[in-house]
Amino acid sequence: MTTVTDNETDLIRRAQADDANAFCSLAERYARRIYLLAFHYCRNAQDAEDLSQEVWLKAYQALAGFRAESSFYTWLRRITINAFLNHQRTSASRHQGQTTIVDLIDSDSETAYESRSASAETVYTKVLFETVMSALSELTPSQRLMFMLRHYEGMSYDEIAAAMNCSTGTIKKGVSRAISKLRAKLSTTNTDEPERLTRLAEC
């Protein structure tokens, strides 16, 4: 653990001295987490890549100001949240068409997921994915972000409130509403029956 931290500190120091390779090594460590946050936020593979890379560019530009008062990931997550909020403001009128994971699974493109066998599990995964994505699309971007930070990132309400610049009560309400909407949407689809869903998909 100490080695990892020391190594990370060294990478940060080198990246602060304009070493792009050191910065890329840092990015490799956290790229998956940032990408997944972006993907849940955008619900679109291409937008998720763009947004997550925008986060890394902003982090690179702001790295000189990193004082190691918090962990590197905490600092990076703050940049991520700000990037998401800016994206929310600027992309309010953007297109609504989405590339879903089903498209990615089915496509043969270089950036897409590798093709998988059409097993029952794969079909179930597809249906489950579509269901959850559809449920997430019922939330507002702010609710989605609050829910993600609370559920996936395990942040406290106070931490989220500080990061999103609003009150703790607002965050609590937002998370509660998000869960209620997700429950209502997901309860209409029984997602715990992979065999039945597979049969439906094969018909």
Binding site: F39, Q53, W56, L57, T131, I179
Partner: protein, 202 residues
């Protein structure tokens, strides 16, 4: 005393924290069927959304391309920066650098200077000198109000005792009119008229 609302809030928080509420809220969940049902639905919702994390994670083959594209973008972002080894020292004087620099620099600067000088000239002509303040004493007569009381006595002829005579016009009693008021007695009401105003000069 079981409180459904508080129990639900508690197990929601425990689930979001990744803990198992059944250990903490075993009695509440055992006793309340509605809370048990709510707990089942909520834990299922959160389980399904958590599974999305695994589902949405791209395969390993995706990441080399991702990092290559990120490097490309970082390189593009780095280009405006001047690397330490590439720094070029310009030994020319500031005036020659200014004159021979791109037209984007001297022309707007020159226009701005002309505008500033022109505006300064226009304002120096148009704006008059600041007037000095001169104090001149000016005596103004103060009008003092005084009350003037005019007493008017109205005389009225008594018709029963005396023989009728020509009606005399009502005039204020003065020395010259006393003689003409023979046969008249003052009326019961004395009218007083107070006239305010007037000045000492009058």
């Amino acid at each position: 005393m079981h409180n459904c609302k508080k129990t639900r809030e508690r197990f929601t928080e425990l689930l979001l924290d990744g803990a198992d509420p059944r250990a903490v809220l075993a009695r509440e969940l055992r006793e309340c069927a509605e809370c048990r049902e709510e707990f089942g639905e909520l834990s299922e919702t959160l389980r399904v959304t958590s599974r999305l994390l695994e589902t949405a994670t791209p395969p390993e083959s995706y990441w080399p391309g991702y990092h290559a594209r990120l490097k490309e973008r970082l390189r593009a972002a780095q280009q405006p920066r001047v690397a330490p080894g590439q720094y070029h020292v310009d030994n020319r004087s500031w005036l020659s650098r200014f004159v021979f620099s791109s037209i984007r620099v001297p022309v707007p600067v020159g226009l701005a200077l002309i505008a500033i000088v022109g505006l300064a000239f226009v304002f120096s002509i148009r704006v008059p000198a600041v007037p000095s303040i001169v104090y001149v004493p000016n005596e103004v007569p103060v009008v003092q109000e005084r009350e003037r009381v005019v007493t008017q006595i109205v005389y009225r002829e008594q018709p029963s005792k005396r023989k009728r005579s020509k009606p005399t016009p009502l005039v204020p009693k003065t020395d010259s009119t006393v003689a003409t008021l023979q046969g008249f007695t003052p009326a019961e009401e004395v009218k007083l008229t107070v006239i305010k105003g007037g000045s000492n000069e009058k």
